[in-house]
């Protein structure tokens, strides 16, 4: 017995030592602390946060599955969460071999990463009267993990902490009240140090102030709040006639974090009404005269205090609903410079210097991912200034490109350090846009405030809408390769050390492309459109690829009028998690 025990002990110690000696040690749930999150990019066995790490690369350093053997990739397990209105939209995370993902109504599922075996489910009781009051219900796009807890926002404006082992609620905080309009949460939170940060939705709704809020990760107590509109005098001055009281705003997708300067970068949502009839007199007339700070851009906040360090408004007085909330924050260091690359919904990619000492973020470059846009003529790559704005007149504005859903959506691209390329989806479709001089719905009323009606149409010179996936230099935008997609993909991308770029398609096809050339190496029909996330992780010594399926988001609603089938009959109350392995 003693000998047996000694051997077992020795073996256990040896295995543990071997694990601990190398990089990529799977984190235990309780061990996911601020330091583990800082080093998430060095731990390819787990997928610790929505954007994989603070660098937002959506890159896996695993290479068991690679360009040579991807032909043998097959489904190893699936999970069907049941009725899932408007499809699964989340990016899963993995901690210590356990996969967590969310579905409609902020449900969380915990599954064994190797087998898919059910561990637990968390289903918060949602205030339906409130949640159903917005067009974003019942979306949920993911969780954050730290300190043995998962954090999730709800459409009725709460942030909830759940024990990672048991699925039991630890605390909740009703962060958003209806006092200044009805806002909620659909995006995943971001944990930075000892705080959980989350941004509100509601850019389309009359109200204020689109807050980004940080709470203590252990107690849920509010630590700081940054209002994306009307939080300071400069912002208020940019909304004449107190129009900030109906101004929308928000920051509905997770931001990024730069530990070098202890700065949180967060993308801000559009102002309300989405469309303004004042044409070229928007500085002084119309429903929201002025530049409408800090909507449709980026704010750089002190991670400890929430104090604004710097900002850049990518779309001053946004008149097309091209907010900055959609884009990930890709952190890159090159030739002694620290960059953060941020795509805007209008189809332009902003390359900033991560020096946040100036009042405004320093532009290093701006490049164009879109192909058919005409809402502006260009963006000055040195200053970020919009050139040749196409202001909208009251009445019909034909073939406005891109349409309200942008040339870039909220799915994330992927940066691959092995190729040095940034992979990103572009979507090309337009709208015949009739701008309507509507009545003010009332300060803080929480009512929809769109100011237009429209019909989506193909771009000029094209019979159909289309999309593209390209591999580019992230700083210059120079194209290494590009693949056109008949149906523009709506899901996030994943690239790997194995030389693979996974593209979950709108029609249900999941493609694996060669990261160097874009050549299609493998494809699998998942049976339903994708508009969520895709990740890779290790469990039991084996690499897996996990992707969510499901259809029914706002943007996916365009596919029926743009393409007809297969989208006309594609269900919008379904979705699955599908896991692939060799």
């Amino acid at each position: 017995m003693k000998r047996s025990l000694a051997i077992r002990t020795w073996l256990a110690c040896g295995v543990a030592a071997a694990c601990l000696a190398g990089a990529g040690v799977p984190a235990k749930a309780a061990d996911v602390d601020a330091n583990a999150l800082l080093k998430a990019d060095e731990n390819p066995n787990d997928w610790l946060m929505y954007h994989q790490s603070y660098k937002s690369w959506h890159y896996s350093a695993l290479d068991q599955i690679n360009a040579n053997n991807v032909k043998d990739l097959k489904v190893v397990w699936m999970h069907t969460p049941g009725a899932n209105k408007r499809g699964v939209q989340s990016v899963p995370i993995v901690v210590d071999g356990v996969l967590y993902y969310t579905t409609s109504g902020s449900q969380i599922w915990a599954l064994d990463g190797a087998t898919g075996a059910f561990l637990w489910k968390f289903e918060p009781k949602i205030d339906k009267d409130r949640a159903e009051g917005t067009v974003y219900n019942p979306y949920n796009r993911g969780v954050a993990a730290a300190f043995g807890k998962l954090y999730i926002g709800t459409a009725d404006g709460r942030l909830i902490a759940v024990d990672m082992k048991t699925g039991k609620q630890v605390w909740e905080n009703q962060l958003l009240t209806t006092e200044k309009g009805n806002k909620g949460y659909t995006g995943a939170p971001l944990v930075v140090k000892d705080k959980v940060i989350i941004g509100a939705d509601g850019g389309e709704y009359s109200g204020c102030c689109g807050p980004i809020i940080a709470v203590d990760a252990n107690t849920g107590k509010v630590a700081w709040q940054f209002d994306t509109i009307a939080g300071d005098e400069r912002s208020r001055a940019s909304w004449k006639n107190d129009s900030w009281k109906t101004g929308g705003g928000g920051g509905w997708m997770p931001g990024g974090y730069d530990p070098k300067t202890n700065t949180v970068f967060w993308g801000t949502a559009n102002p309300a009404p989405d469309y303004d009839w004042s044409f070229d007199k928007w500085q002084t007339e119309g429903p929201r005269p002025g530049e409408n700070l800090y909507t449709s851009g980026v704010v750089a906040l002190d991670a400890d205090t929430g104090k604004l360090k710097s900002f850049f408004q990518e779309i001053p007085h946004d008149n097309w609903d091209f907010d900055g909330a959609v884009g990930e924050f890709v952190m890159l260091d090159r030739d002694g410079k620290n960059y953060v690359v941020h795509p805007n919904k209008g189809g332009y990619v902003y390359v900033y210097n991560r020096d946040v000492s100036g009042d405004k973020l320093k532009i290093e470059n701006v490049w164009h991912l879109g192909k058919t846009s005409n809402f502006i003529k260009d963006v000055d790559p040195k200053t970020g200034e919009l050139i040749g704005r196409r202001e909208l007149k009251e009445g019909m504005n034909k073939q406005l490109c891109p349409a309200i859903d942008g040339a870039i959506s909220w799915n994330s691209g992927s940066y691959n350090p092995d190729t040095g390329l940034y992979y990103k989806i572009g979507q090309e479709f337009c709208a015949d846009q009739e701008v309507v001089k509507t009545d003010n719905p009332g300060a803080y009323s929480g009512k929809l405030y769109l100011g237009a009606t429209w019909t989506v149409v193909p771009p000029p010179g094209h019979e159909k809408a289309f999309g593209h996936v390209s591999g580019r230099d992230p700083i210059t935008g120079k194209v290494a390769w590009e693949v056109e997609y008949k149906y523009f993909p709506l899901a996030s991308l994943l690239s790997t050390k194995g030389g693979l770029l996974f593209v979950p398609g709108a029609d249900g096809m999941l493609d694996a492309l060669d990261t160097k050339t874009g050549k299609k190496l493998w494809s699998h029909n998942d049976g339903l459109g994708h508009h969520g996330g895709i990740i890779s992780y290790m469990a039991g010594g084996k690499q897996y690829i996990a992707v969510t399926t499901g259809w029914g988001s706002h943007v996916s609603g365009n596919f029926k009028p743009l393409y007809g089938e297969p989208f006309a009959s594609m269900p919008t109350d379904n979705g699955q998690l599908i896991v692939f392995g060799l």
Partner: protein, 121 residues
């Protein structure tokens, strides 16, 4: 012509809201309904169109004449009463209720407008 177009648009909007016709929803506690008789004609089409632009366009294209995120409203098979109830109570998980956003007259005017729309095809 414009009047017809506007009527069509309204009808389209309502159709989308009504495309999957449910039995009339029970009265909710969270709406503005007074239960009193209302005059749909008291709300002019221009007003309905403005309300449509703010509240319906997210899901219903071209004043409801085209299918979009929501169904085409023009040509809905729902009755005017059903359209009214759908606007008031919404459809869980898909369409917000507008019982708190619009008053009885506005909802009635919407329903009438939507039912007046004729599909283009």
């Amino acid at each position: 012509m414009l009047g017809i177009e506007r009527r069509l648009l309204l009808a389209a909007c309502a159709g989308a809201l009504l495309a999957i016709a449910p039995p009339a929803a029970p009265a909710a506690e969270n709406d503005n309904s007074t239960g009193a008789q209302v005059d749909a004609a008291a709300v002019p089409v221009t007003e309905v169109k403005k309300l449509f632009a703010n509240n319906c366009s997210w899901c219903h294209g071209a004043y409801g004449m085209t299918a979009d995120k929501g169904p085409r409203l023009a040509g809905t098979k729902m009755t005017e009463d059903e359209v009214r109830e759908r606007i008031r109570h919404g459809k869980e998980g898909y369409m917000p209720p507008f019982g708190k956003v619009l008053n009885d007259q506005q909802i009635a005017a919407f329903a009438k407008y939507i039912k007046s729309l004729t599909p283009a095809d």
